[in-house]
Symmetry: C2
Subunit: 212 residues, 2 copies
Amino acid sequence: MPGSKLHRRGLMLVLSSPSGAGKSTIARALLEREDELFMSISMTTRPPRPGEKEGRDYFFITEDEYTQKVENGELLEHARVFSNYYGTPRTLVEQHLMAGEDVLIDIDWQGTQQLRDSARYDVISIFILPPSYDELEQRLMMRGQDSEEVIRKRMAKASDEMSHWPEYDYVIVNDVIEESIENLQSILKAERLRRTRRLGLDEFVNSIRSRN
Amino acid sequence: MPGSKLHRRGLMLVLSSPSGAGKSTIARALLEREDELFMSISMTTRPPRPGEKEGRDYFFITEDEYTQKVENGELLEHARVFSNYYGTPRTLVEQHLMAGEDVLIDIDWQGTQQLRDSARYDVISIFILPPSYDELEQRLMMRGQDSEEVIRKRMAKASDEMSHWPEYDYVIVNDVIEESIENLQSILKAERLRRTRRLGLDEFVNSIRSRN
C-alpha cells in the first residue's frame, strides 16, 4: 500500500466571515463530508440563545472562568466582541493536530490575527463573503423579527468584519452554496497535499528508488 | 452577478515526474475537465517518435533553430536532456497568463528550477510519484519490447528525477488515477481562490459594504 507509511501534519482551517454570509451552513456541510476534520468548539461568556446547546454550539462559561482560563494559558486565542468574551480551548485542538488531523475553527478576524501572529501553528485562513449587499441584508433580516435599527447595526458590524478580508489566505464568494462547499473542500484537499505537511515521503521515495 | 467584476491572475501549473508515473494521462484528463487551462507545447531537437504529431506533442526544431531561440530569449526555460534540447516557447504562455488563464507545463526538474528562480512568474509546482518500485518498473516495461539494459537505464533516470521531489510545492502519489486527477483539480481550484491571485475583490467588497 503506497499510503501505509505516509501521514501528514494536521492543520488549522480558520473560517471567518460577517454573519449572514452563510459560513455556518458551509462549515457544517464540510464537517459531514470530510474525515480527519474536527470542529473546535469555542467558549463564550454570553448567555445561550434559544436552541443553542452546551458543548455543541459553545461551551458557556462565566467571566471568572474565562479570566482564569486566559491566565492559565488554556485558550489558543481569545477576543472581546461587544461586551462578551470568546475563546478557543487549547487542549482538544492540539490533540487533533498531534494525531495528524485537521481542525476547523470558526472565529473572527481578531482571533485569526492572534493565531497567525503566534507563528506556532499551521494556519490556513479563509474569508467567506456574501454575494451582494442586498443578499446580505436579506439574510440578516431572515434571522428574526428585528427592528430596522437592529438590522442596521448588524450591517455595520458585517461591514466592519468584511474590511479584514485582505488578511486571509483564501477568499470564497458564497453565491451558490454547493459551489462554496466544494471550493472549501478543494482548499482542504490541496493544503493536505502540500509537500511541507507530508511526513514519511523521504522514506517512501527511497523505497521506490531502489528495490529494497 | 457576484463574479462579474471578479477575475484573477493566471498561474503556471508545472507538472514533473519520472516517466512511468502516469503524468501524461493525468495531464490530459485535467485539460479535458478544466476551462481556462491550456497546455504549453514544448520545443525539442529530438526527432519525433512514431505517432507523435508536430504542434500537439512537441514543436520539432533543429539545433540551429533552438540556439537562435535561446539567444533571442524566446524560451521561458530550456534544458538539455541526454543529447537533446528542450524548451518552452514564451509568447503563447504569456498570452494566456495575461488573459487571466492558467497554463499547464510539463517539464523536468531543470526547467522547473529555471521558472522558479526567474521569480517573474507565478509558479505552482507539483511532483507526481509512482506508487511503488514494482509498479514503476512494470509501467516502464509496458512501453515496448525493450531489452533489460534499456529498462535498467530508464529506472536509473527515473530514480534521478525522483530525487528532486523536495523542490516542489505539492506531491501526488499516483496510485488510483481518478484520485490523482481529482487531487490535481483540487490544487488548481484552491490556488485560483488564493487572495493574492484575485483581482477586483477590493471594489467588490466595497460594493457590499455600502449600497452604492
